[in-house]
Assembly symmetry: C2
Homo-oligomer: 268 residues x 2
DNA sequence: CGGCCAATTGAGTAGCTTCAAACTTCGTGG
DNA sequence: CCACGAAGTTTGAAGCTACTCAATTGGCCG
């Protein structure tokens, strides 16, 4: 039985901001405290499994309340975090402390790998709902190298996956208009909810218009306007954070910019 | 003595497009054919060195002429590539075959890691000048696991570094205007040339305005106009692809958008 | 020289941002 | 319980940035 790694200090250290988000703790019931490497592998949806012989090692789960920080800027890199339930944003702070949303993580997504290279986290992660997070003490794992080796290989795949995903986002920011960006975002959310077994046509956004805008490279007003537009067009129904996708096909069509269509015509 | 991995078929297979770029083969003279893992580690500028005992393994260098493909879309993922000399663009092709430039690679940069996750390359890499590229057959390395293990650890760091770099680009595309984007781009190029021992104030661009625009999320006209603007302001001198940075401080100041300054003021 | 491609420059416009105001929701404290 | 304030959202009007379309110039190569 290999040792387990306690990480309780993180939980209480960061005080949540006064604003308490709309909590949605549907998942809070099946609270687990420990996960094996196999379970983690499954959660990560990896092509190669982290091998079973490492299942003596178990990883601690930590709960975060809405608004709490999972890790913060310049914090020493010790752990990576795997979301088991809840919704998290990771943000990048520029020279002036303006936040730029990097990603929204949910079940099965990994956090905090940005700290590996420099040894310090380059970003912050903040819970947008109550969360259950598996703490993987990557550096300490080096000690029992048999486990680490498998983990490294797994993480390599995840990195590759994330790099491709980032690439995709770059392309979107570089070439799509507001309508396309928002509809791609909604579709992506819908798909992610679907994969987790939730409705893909009806869901609650967990982020503000501002956070959405930051993620999509738009202002909050443009996001709001675009949502209203899709609403008026009958493609979706928007009621504050409640989204219902009424016309999935129509939404898909919007991902093509005027520009895309023209370029397509030229080729044909 | 472990085996070395030949990879000659790549060289001749892809025919270069008719347009032959302005070649600038200053580095062509010290043509090497093989590199050890230590040499590679140094080239990659890694915090942890790939260990010396792996130096029995050597890696083949392959030459590419300007316009040739290093790897192409959907090609099976076998190798990753480390640039030893020359200038390369990696591009992403969208649904219509429009290219979106992901990155410009030069000495010490890695190519092709995007293929790891799916087993096929998600992007293409095209030489913008004559290049010398070290071929690292990542998958075959798994056989002699002692080497692979060290490599994996090294590559993990590189991935982390690249993810942070991508994050940065995302922030730029999401929040900076044309002026800021172009000046950040020029500064980044200047610094990279500097690190390689070249002049950081005077260099040749190896890419077209279109490619620059694609990378920066701008049209070629906007790039051209912005360069002319910086030229007229006396901050740089532009003569087609020849760039001279006249006022590095002035260039740095341009990286702050009107928007940034306002937000900064509000905070103070 | 002519053809081709890259780059520059201009004019007009679409789309997003900015600024501003009104409204809703939610939590807090009287 | 209601009033209040803070934060989030919506919507309008005006302005500006970057895009589109178009014409021209300059290099390069056959």
């Amino acid at each position: 039985m290999t040792t387990a790694f306690a990480q309780p200090q993180n939980r209480a250290k960061t005080i949540p901001p006064p604003a308490l988000r709309t909590s949605y703790n549907a998942l809070k019931s099946h609270a687990k405290l420990w996960s094996t490497a196999s379970e983690i592998s499954e959660l990560l949806n990896l092509p190669i499994a982290i091998q079973r012989q490492t299942d003596q090692v178990v990883f601690q789960h930590v709960h975060f309340k809405s608004g709490q920080r999972i890790h913060s800027l310049n914090q020493e890199f010790v752990n990576i975090y795997l979301v088991n339930s809840g919704f998290i944003k990771s943000i990048f702070l520029d020279e002036f402390g303006n936040e730029q949303v990097c990603h929204f993580q949910m079940k099965g997504d990994l956090l905090g790998i940005d700290g590996m290279h420099t040894g310090r986290h380059m970003s912050e992660a903040v819970a947008l709902s109550d969360c259950d997070v598996i703490v993987i003490p990557l550096l300490k794992l080096k000690v029992c190298s048999c486990t680490f080796e498998h983990f490294e290989r797994a993480i390599l795949h995840i990195f590759s996956r994330q790099l491709v995903a980032q690439q995709n986002r770059l392309n979107i920011l570089a070439s799509k208009n507001a309508e396309a960006r928002v509809s791609i975002f909604l579709q992506s959310l819908a798909q992610r909810f679907h994969l987790l077994g939730y409705s893909q046509t009806s869901f609650n956004l967990r982020m503000t218009r501002h956070e959405m805008g930051s993620y999509l490279g738009l202002t909050l007003e443009t996001v709001s306007r675009t949502l209203s537009l899709l609403n008026d067009a009958g493609i979706i129904s928007v009621q504050l954070r409640r989204i219902v996708i009424l016309d999935a096909e129509g939404l898909k069509e919007l991902t093509l910019t005027h520009r895309d269509i023209q370029r397509c015509m030229v080729k044909v």
